[in-house]
Every structure is written in C-alpha cells, then in structure tokens.
C-alpha cells in the first residue's frame, strides 16, 4: 500500500488502471463522498430532532403557533418523520454504504460522478420535502407524503443513480465473495425501489396533486405494504448491513456467526414483506390478509433476534472494550433497542394486543424506541468511528462523546417510558365501560387531557436527545476544523478477479466418486455441497434478481387476492362519489394533515361503535383516493362525522377549537376562514377522480366551479341560519365543512324514488349541487330500508 495526496488521485476512477486482467491495478477509495454524507447526516439529524421537539411542544401548547398554517402539527409531523427517515437515516445509510462497499469490494465506487449526483440529488429531494410539506403539498400517505414530481426524482436518484453505481461497483469488485453486509444493501436498494414505485402510482391533477390509482381498502393495503416495509428496508436492512460491517470493525473481531447471518438475511427478506397488513387489524381489510400479516410478523421475531444475538455476541471476549469505547457503547445500546423493538413489533401485531394499542401513543413509543435507539444510536456509533478516520485526526472531545451517549440513552428512556404509559392509558380509557354498559369516558377530550402531563415528559426526553445531537454536531465540527490541510489517500494494488473460478471445479467432485453407489447418489452429494449457492453469493446480478424474487413473490401472494377477490370490497349501492365541493374540502383535509390526528375507521369493537357509531365497511371507501383511515387518534375518529355537528359548529371549531371543545389540543385553523377557495381550481380534481372511475355528471365535469359554488352557498346559508356570520360561501372552510358533513353518511342514505312529476325548483338546485341524490343514480339498485342499507356482494 502506498499513499498519495488527495488531489493526485484520478477524479473519476482512482489513481490508475491497466487493461490487462492479469496485471496489477492500482486503486484508492473515494472517502470524500463518505465525508459529504456524514456531514449531511449530522445537519439533517439536527433538523429532524429539532422539528420533532417542536411538534412535541405544539401538542402540549397548541396555541403556540397562533394558527399559522405552516407550523401546525398536521403539516410539521410529516416533515419530522420524513426528515428523520429519509434525511437523517437516509444520509447515514449512504455514508455507511459508500464507506463500507468500497472496502468490502476492494474497489472504488464505479463512478465518482454518479456518487456526486446521488448526493446532490438526494439533498434536493430533502429540501423539496422541507418546502412542500409545510405548504400542505402532500399525498397524506404516511412516509410517502411527497407529491408525484418529487417521487419521480426519488425513483431516478435512488434506482438509476445510486442503485446503478452500487451494482456496477459490485460487478467490478476485487473480492470474490460478497460479504453479508452487501446482501443487506442489495435487498435495500431493490425493495425500496419496488415499494416506492408501486405505492406512488397516481393520476396527476396538476403539478402539486396526484390521485392514487388505488382506492379505499386496496389503497390502505398498498400504503401499509409500503409503510411497514419502509421500516423494514429503509430502517432495518441497511442498518443491519451497517452493523455487520462497522460492529466487527469497531470490536476488531469477526462477526459471531457467519452462518447465522446468512439465515438471518434470507429469513428477514422473505418474511418482512408479508407483515404490512398487521397495521390494519379490525379495519375493513379482509381478515385473511390480516391473519397472514400477523402470522408472518410473529415469525419475524426469530430472524430479528438472530440478528440481535449475532451483533451482541460479536462482542464476546471484547466486553472490556465496551466499558471504555463509547462507539461500542452506542452499538450495544443500539442493538439492544433493535432486540426490544423487534420483540415488541410482533407482539403488537397480535390482533388482541393490537386492538388495545392501535391508534394510541403505544405505537409512537414503539416507533421511537426503534428510531432513537436502533437507528439513532447505530448512526451515532458509526459517525464517531468514522469521523477520526475520515478527517484523519483525533476526535475533538472523547468526553463529549461519552456525555452524548449518556444524555441520549437517558433521553430515550425519558421519552418512551411516559409515552408507553400514555398509550396504555389511552387504550384502556377508550374501551372502559361501567356496570351499565356505557362508556366510562364518553368525552374523548377527557382521555387526551389525562395524558398531557406525560406528553410534557416527552418534551423533556426529546430535549435531552436533541442536546446529544447538538453535542455530536459540535464535536464533529471541531474535529473537522482540526483536519490536515490535505488528506492522505492510501493507494492499493491488486489484480482483477479472474473470470474462471477454481472453486467451482472443486465443488463438482463428489466424495462418492469411486464408491459403488448409484449415479443419482453422487449427483445428490454434489448438489448437497451447495456449490450452486456459493456461486450465487459471488454473482451480484443473479443475487439481486433472487433477492427481488423473494420480495416480489411474497408481495404477489398478498396483492393478487386483495385486488382480485371481489368479495373483499362488497359494494354498497348508496355510496356515491364526492361532489366537487366535497372533493375540494377533502383536498384541504389532506393538505392540512388532519389524518395525523383523526382516523376514519371505526373498528367492529363495542367500545368503538358506542363512541363513534356503526363500524366502517369496505364498500364505503371506494371513492377515497387516498384513503384517510389514519394511524393515530389524538382527536376522535371522523368516520361518522357527517351530520353530527352543525355547519356553524364546525366553522367556530376551526376558528377556535377550545371555544366549542374546552381542553382540545387542536390548533386554530382560522386561515381557512379567511382564505378564499379557488373554485376554478376544483375541475382537475373532479376530472382525475372521473378518470379513475368515479361517475360524475356532465355538469360536474364541465361546469365544476358553478356546481361547487351552489353547494357552498347552501352551506353558507345554513351557517347564517344557525347564527353564524354572513358571506362565508367563498371561504376554504366551507369546502372542508362540506366534506366533513358528508363523511360516513352514505351508508345511511335512503334513495328517494324518482318522482313522476316535475321536481320543485329548490330540489333541482340541490340535485345539481350534489346534496340530493341524482335521478340518474336510481339506475343503481338501492336498498329500500330507511337506514343501514347493508352490503351487497
């Protein structure tokens, strides 16, 4: 090995190569790209944890934002999750991959140019997210909120630039065997691409809005297939790859069991992809899909703990180092949190446990034990190991690293323990019933108010964790300042891998070759030597195809039945498309991020039906693009909100929630009362919905603004009648009220028989506005019963 100054290295392919396969090639590693991603990780780590702290404070002090829409909880919460997952964890993954892949392949990245395009492309995506999400430009799909133009950019940067560069590096590697960390990286790249593309298929309704090609139940299924596997393949598999590389490096000893790592990898990749439906227990998703999701989630426990055990036992004989090396301390706590989270995850997927935990803060605690403990601490451990090596100087302050470790660890505990308690309290209070069979806590706000003190403790825990990240940023900056004026670039030399591999021939010979046995026994013996599997591990493209197949096959087993069995979504004759104004209101509901606090899914559980009304049916959501079932109830469920309150009540509620709901933690949405609705901008939404199969009349499609205006005038008139202010029909709140008054009412709609005589002018007007059933709809068979028309197969 020799060294050269950084500026002497070839800018794109290393110091030099030769064309002859048999001659030595010289190469160096591109550490500059790792430095760039390390810096981005720290910057976005600060942003993600700071925004998390802000949203935690907003929850306990809802009036702090003074009704400013850009910093409301509904808009900032997706910013926090996206910043934590895709900016902080994403950049950490890339730093780990760029550093370790080159060393595991004994080769420089295939193209420095693609590496830089990847870095800047990803930062542009993050900045685009940071701008669009506070502006309310969102798909409302959790962890996939970004709209379609950004989604296309993600697909290009991830798959073609990053994936292409990574795969070509594997192809040009100088190490015959692909180490297990590389397997995890391959699975990450192909699966995230698959998830991202298929979950984000939309029909554009303008540059900033797309309507999902899936609706209702199928949309929910796709979203949670994506959502769960985003956790699996963005926050788990790449971090396991990181663990398998950096933990042995830091401990200076090989991984405990390479065999276990192989079993761990294939089991994890194959099982994880099935588990998504456990997010939809007791919802309108078919029960068979939920059972399958639950079963595979429980099975997931085994490979997950296989990974944890492998990680912890790698430190066998090196525990004395853990006591003095803060990097190993971070890893030990990180892997331990991985074990805790992957035990808790399967437990939460059990239907009866999920009935208690779902929609509560329990899920939030579970997520944060994984994110702060596993992802955060594995990242911090990696960064503290990398910083002195990348900047070629000592850490500025080892004591500060130690302090970060303790502050972060205590911060996590101060965060999650009260939130677990809050989740349990919520779940138990929501289902509590007295001796007479009535809800013990019928007022939802009472259940929220009881956990506010615990939310304050979360603020403290979050502050401590954020403090730790600040320490990291300071330490990293000071270490960077102390870097040498020119980095040394070690130069290595080695021949290329030969195309012929002698190992094949060795494995083709059977020990039974000369024994008096049948040929089939000799062939079986050769097959059982598993040479074919060893060869897969040496062929990156074949390995990638196999990993993709494992994921795709598992997906298809769930997707095909969900989409093709018609009885999964029984149609309900009275369910009609949203009117243009309601569609505009739904767009506002999505933009404001209302789904972050309100679910729209009443589960068939007595406590829920008593609190909210009739349980939700799959057929009610066939026009819901995207679905709005939500995953959390900071506020009450909205699935039967229509008609519960007067339009004026909603108007007042948006203006000052505490006025009509004392103790509410909802912020003011007064901007909806002040800003005008752009009636002319509704048409693309209606056209997109019609394109996707919603039956709209010619008037709805061609005279959209006028139809919407008529309905808005009716609602504005109602508000005046109920004692509200005049001239509200042009305001955005009216559209949102129209939508809220519609939610969940179709199930109870009783079709009026088509009149034989001419309709009265008032009724005609209402029909055009969409508040009365259209005569043309009478072609659809409807139930004659006045309520609960039921479902038709």
């Amino acid at each position: 090995m020799t060294t050269a100054a950084a500026h002497e290295a070839s800018p794109d392919r290393g110091p030099g190569t030769t064309s002859d396969d048999q001659r030595l090639e010289t190469f160096s590693y591109d550490d500059q790209i790792a430095r760039m991603f390390v810096a981005a990780t720290i910057v976005w780590g600060l942003v993600a944890t700071l925004v998390g702290l802000i949203v935690a404070i907003i929850l306990v002090m809802p009036n702090l934002t003074s009704g400013l829409p850009w910093i409301s909880f509904g808009r900032l919460r997706p910013l926090h999750t996206n910043a934590a997952i895709f900016a902080f964890a994403g950049n950490a993954i890339f730093a780990a991959i760029y550093y370790s892949t080159q060393r595991l392949c004994k080769a420089r990245m295939w193209s420095d140019t693609l590496s830089r395009m990847h870095f800047w492309g990803w930062q542009i995506i993050i900045v685009a997210a940071a701008i669009t999400l506070p502006l309310g430009i969102t798909q409302s799909r959790e962890y996939a909120e970004l709209e379609w133009p950004i989604d296309i950019l993600i697909a290009v940067v991830w798959l073609f630039i990053f994936g292409g560069n990574f795969l070509m590096t594997l192809v040009h590697r100088r190490e015959r065997h692909m180490y297990v960390a590389l397997w995890f990286y391959i699975a990450t790249i192909v699966t995230v691409a698959l998830l991202h593309v298929f979950n984000n298929l939309v029909v554009p309704a303008g540059w900033f809005k797309g309507y999902s090609v899936y609706a209702g139940v199928q949309d929910a299924f796709m979203q949670w297939w994506y959502g769960h596997n985003a956790v699996a393949f963005f926050l788990t598999t790449p971090f396991l790859g990181l663990m398998y590389y950096f933990l042995p490096k830091a401990a200076e000893r090989p991984v405990f069991s390479y065999r276990l790592s192989i079993i761990h990898f294939w089991s994890l990749v194959f099982i994880y992809i099935w588990a998504g439906p456990h997010h939809l227990h007791y919802t309108a998703l078919p029960q068979w899909a939920c059972t399958l999701g639950m079963l595979f989630s429980l099975m997931l426990w085994m490979p997950s703990w296989g990974g944890m055990i492998n990680g912890l036992l790698t430190l066998r004989g090196a525990w004395h180092k853990v006591a003095v090396d803060p990097v190993l301390k971070f890893y030990v706590v990180g892997v331990t949190f991985y074990g805790m989270s992957t035990f808790e995850g399967p437990m939460l997927s059990i239907r009866s446990v999920n009935a208690l935990s779902h929609y509560t803060d329990w899920t939030i605690a579970h997520v944060h034990s994984g994110a702060l403990g596993w992802n955060g601490f594995m990242t911090f451990g990696m960064l503290y190991w990398l910083l002195p090596r990348l900047f070629q100087t000592k850490m500025w302050s080892p004591r500060l690293v130690n302090l970060h470790f303790w502050l972060g660890t205590i911060g996590i505990l101060v965060y999650i323990v009260p939130i677990y308690a809050a989740g349990l309290m919520q779940g138990l209070m929501w289902r509590a019933m007295d001796d007479t069979g009535h809800l013990t806590y019928p007022d939802f706000i009472e259940t929220t108010q009881s956990i506010v003190p615990l939310w304050w403790l979360r603020v403290l825990g979050g502050l401590m964790y954020f403090g730790g990240v600040v320490m990291l940023a300071v330490n990293a900056t000071m270490t960077w300042i102390a870097r040498p004026s020119t980095y040394e670039v070690p130069v290595y030399s080695a021949p290329r891998l030969t195309k012929e591999y002698e190992g094949h021939e060795q494995l083709k010979r059977s020990v039974l070759q000369d024994a008096p046995v049948l040929d089939v026994a000799k062939k079986l013996d050769v097959w059982a030597q598993m040479g074919w599997h060893r060869s897969w591990e040496r062929l990156p493209i074949k390995f990638t195809v196999l990993a993709t197949l494992a994921v795709v096959i598992a997906t298809l087993f769930e997707v095909i039945p969900t989409f093709l069995i018609r009885s999964n979504v029984p149609t309900i004759a009275t369910v009609q498309p949203y009117t243009p104004l309601e569609l505009a209101g739904r767009h506002i509901y999505v933009s404001e991020g209302c789904y972050n606090c309100h679910s729209q899914m009443i589960r068939p559980i007595v406590a829920e039906t008593k609190r909210y009304g009739e349980y939700s049916k799959p057929g009610e959501f066939i026009y819901d693009r995207p679905f709005q079932w939500g995953s959390r109830r900071i506020g009450p469920d909205m699935a039967r909100e229509g008609g519960k309150q007067s339009s004026f009540w909603h108007w007042t509620h948006f203006q000052d929630p505490q006025n009509v709901s004392p103790g509410s933690v909802m912020p003011s949405y007064k901007h909806l009362l002040e800003n005008d609705l752009k009636f002319n901008a509704i048409a693309p939404h209606v056209k997109a919905a019609a394109y996707l199969g919603a039956p709209y009349s010619d008037a709805d499609l061609n005279d959209t603004a006028a139809v919407a205006m008529k309905q808005a005038e009716q609602i504005a008139a109602d508000i005046v009648q109920q004692g509200g202010p005049p001239m509200t029909f042009e305001k955005q709140a009216i559209a949102l009220i129209a939508y809220l008054q519609r939610i969940g009412t179709d199930l109870y709609r009783t079709e009026t028989p088509a009149p034989e005589t001419k309709q009265a002018p008032e009724t005609e007007q209402a029909v055009e506005a969409g508040t009365e059933p259209r005569p043309a709809d009478s072609e659809t068979p409807v139930s004659a019963t006045p309520s609960l028309p039921g479902e038709q197969q």
Partner: protein
C-alpha cells in the same frame, strides 16, 4: 383468456401456500448455511477486518 385464467384461480389457499413457500425456502437456506465449511466461514467473516486485498481470494 387471462380473465378466464384469473377467474379459475382459487385464491383461498394463498395463505397456506405462502407458508409452505416460506418453510421450503427457510429449510433450503438453513441447509445451505450449515454446509458452509469452517474455513469458508472464517474467511468470509474476516472480510471487513482488513481493507487490503488478500490473495488467494477464494473460499
């Protein structure tokens, strides 16, 4: 024809088939990893410990 094929398929066994597929794959992976020689295991697991190219680069 595709429509007829899809209609003729019985999806009700998907969950059971999925479990069987998993167990077959799992058994194959388990068997494969157990057949790995000790020398190969030691060689593979030490790959990350050294950044330099080592020869011979075989199992």
């Amino acid at each position: 024809m595709i429509k007829d094929l899809v209609c003729a398929l019985d999806y009700s066994n998907c969950a059971e088939v999925a479990l069987c597929v998993f167990f077959v794959v799992f058994a194959a992976v388990l068997f494969s990893s157990m057949r790995l020689s000790r020398a190969a295991v030691e060689r593979f697991s030490s790959i990350p410990l050294n950044d330099q190219v080592e020869d011979p680069r075989y199992e």
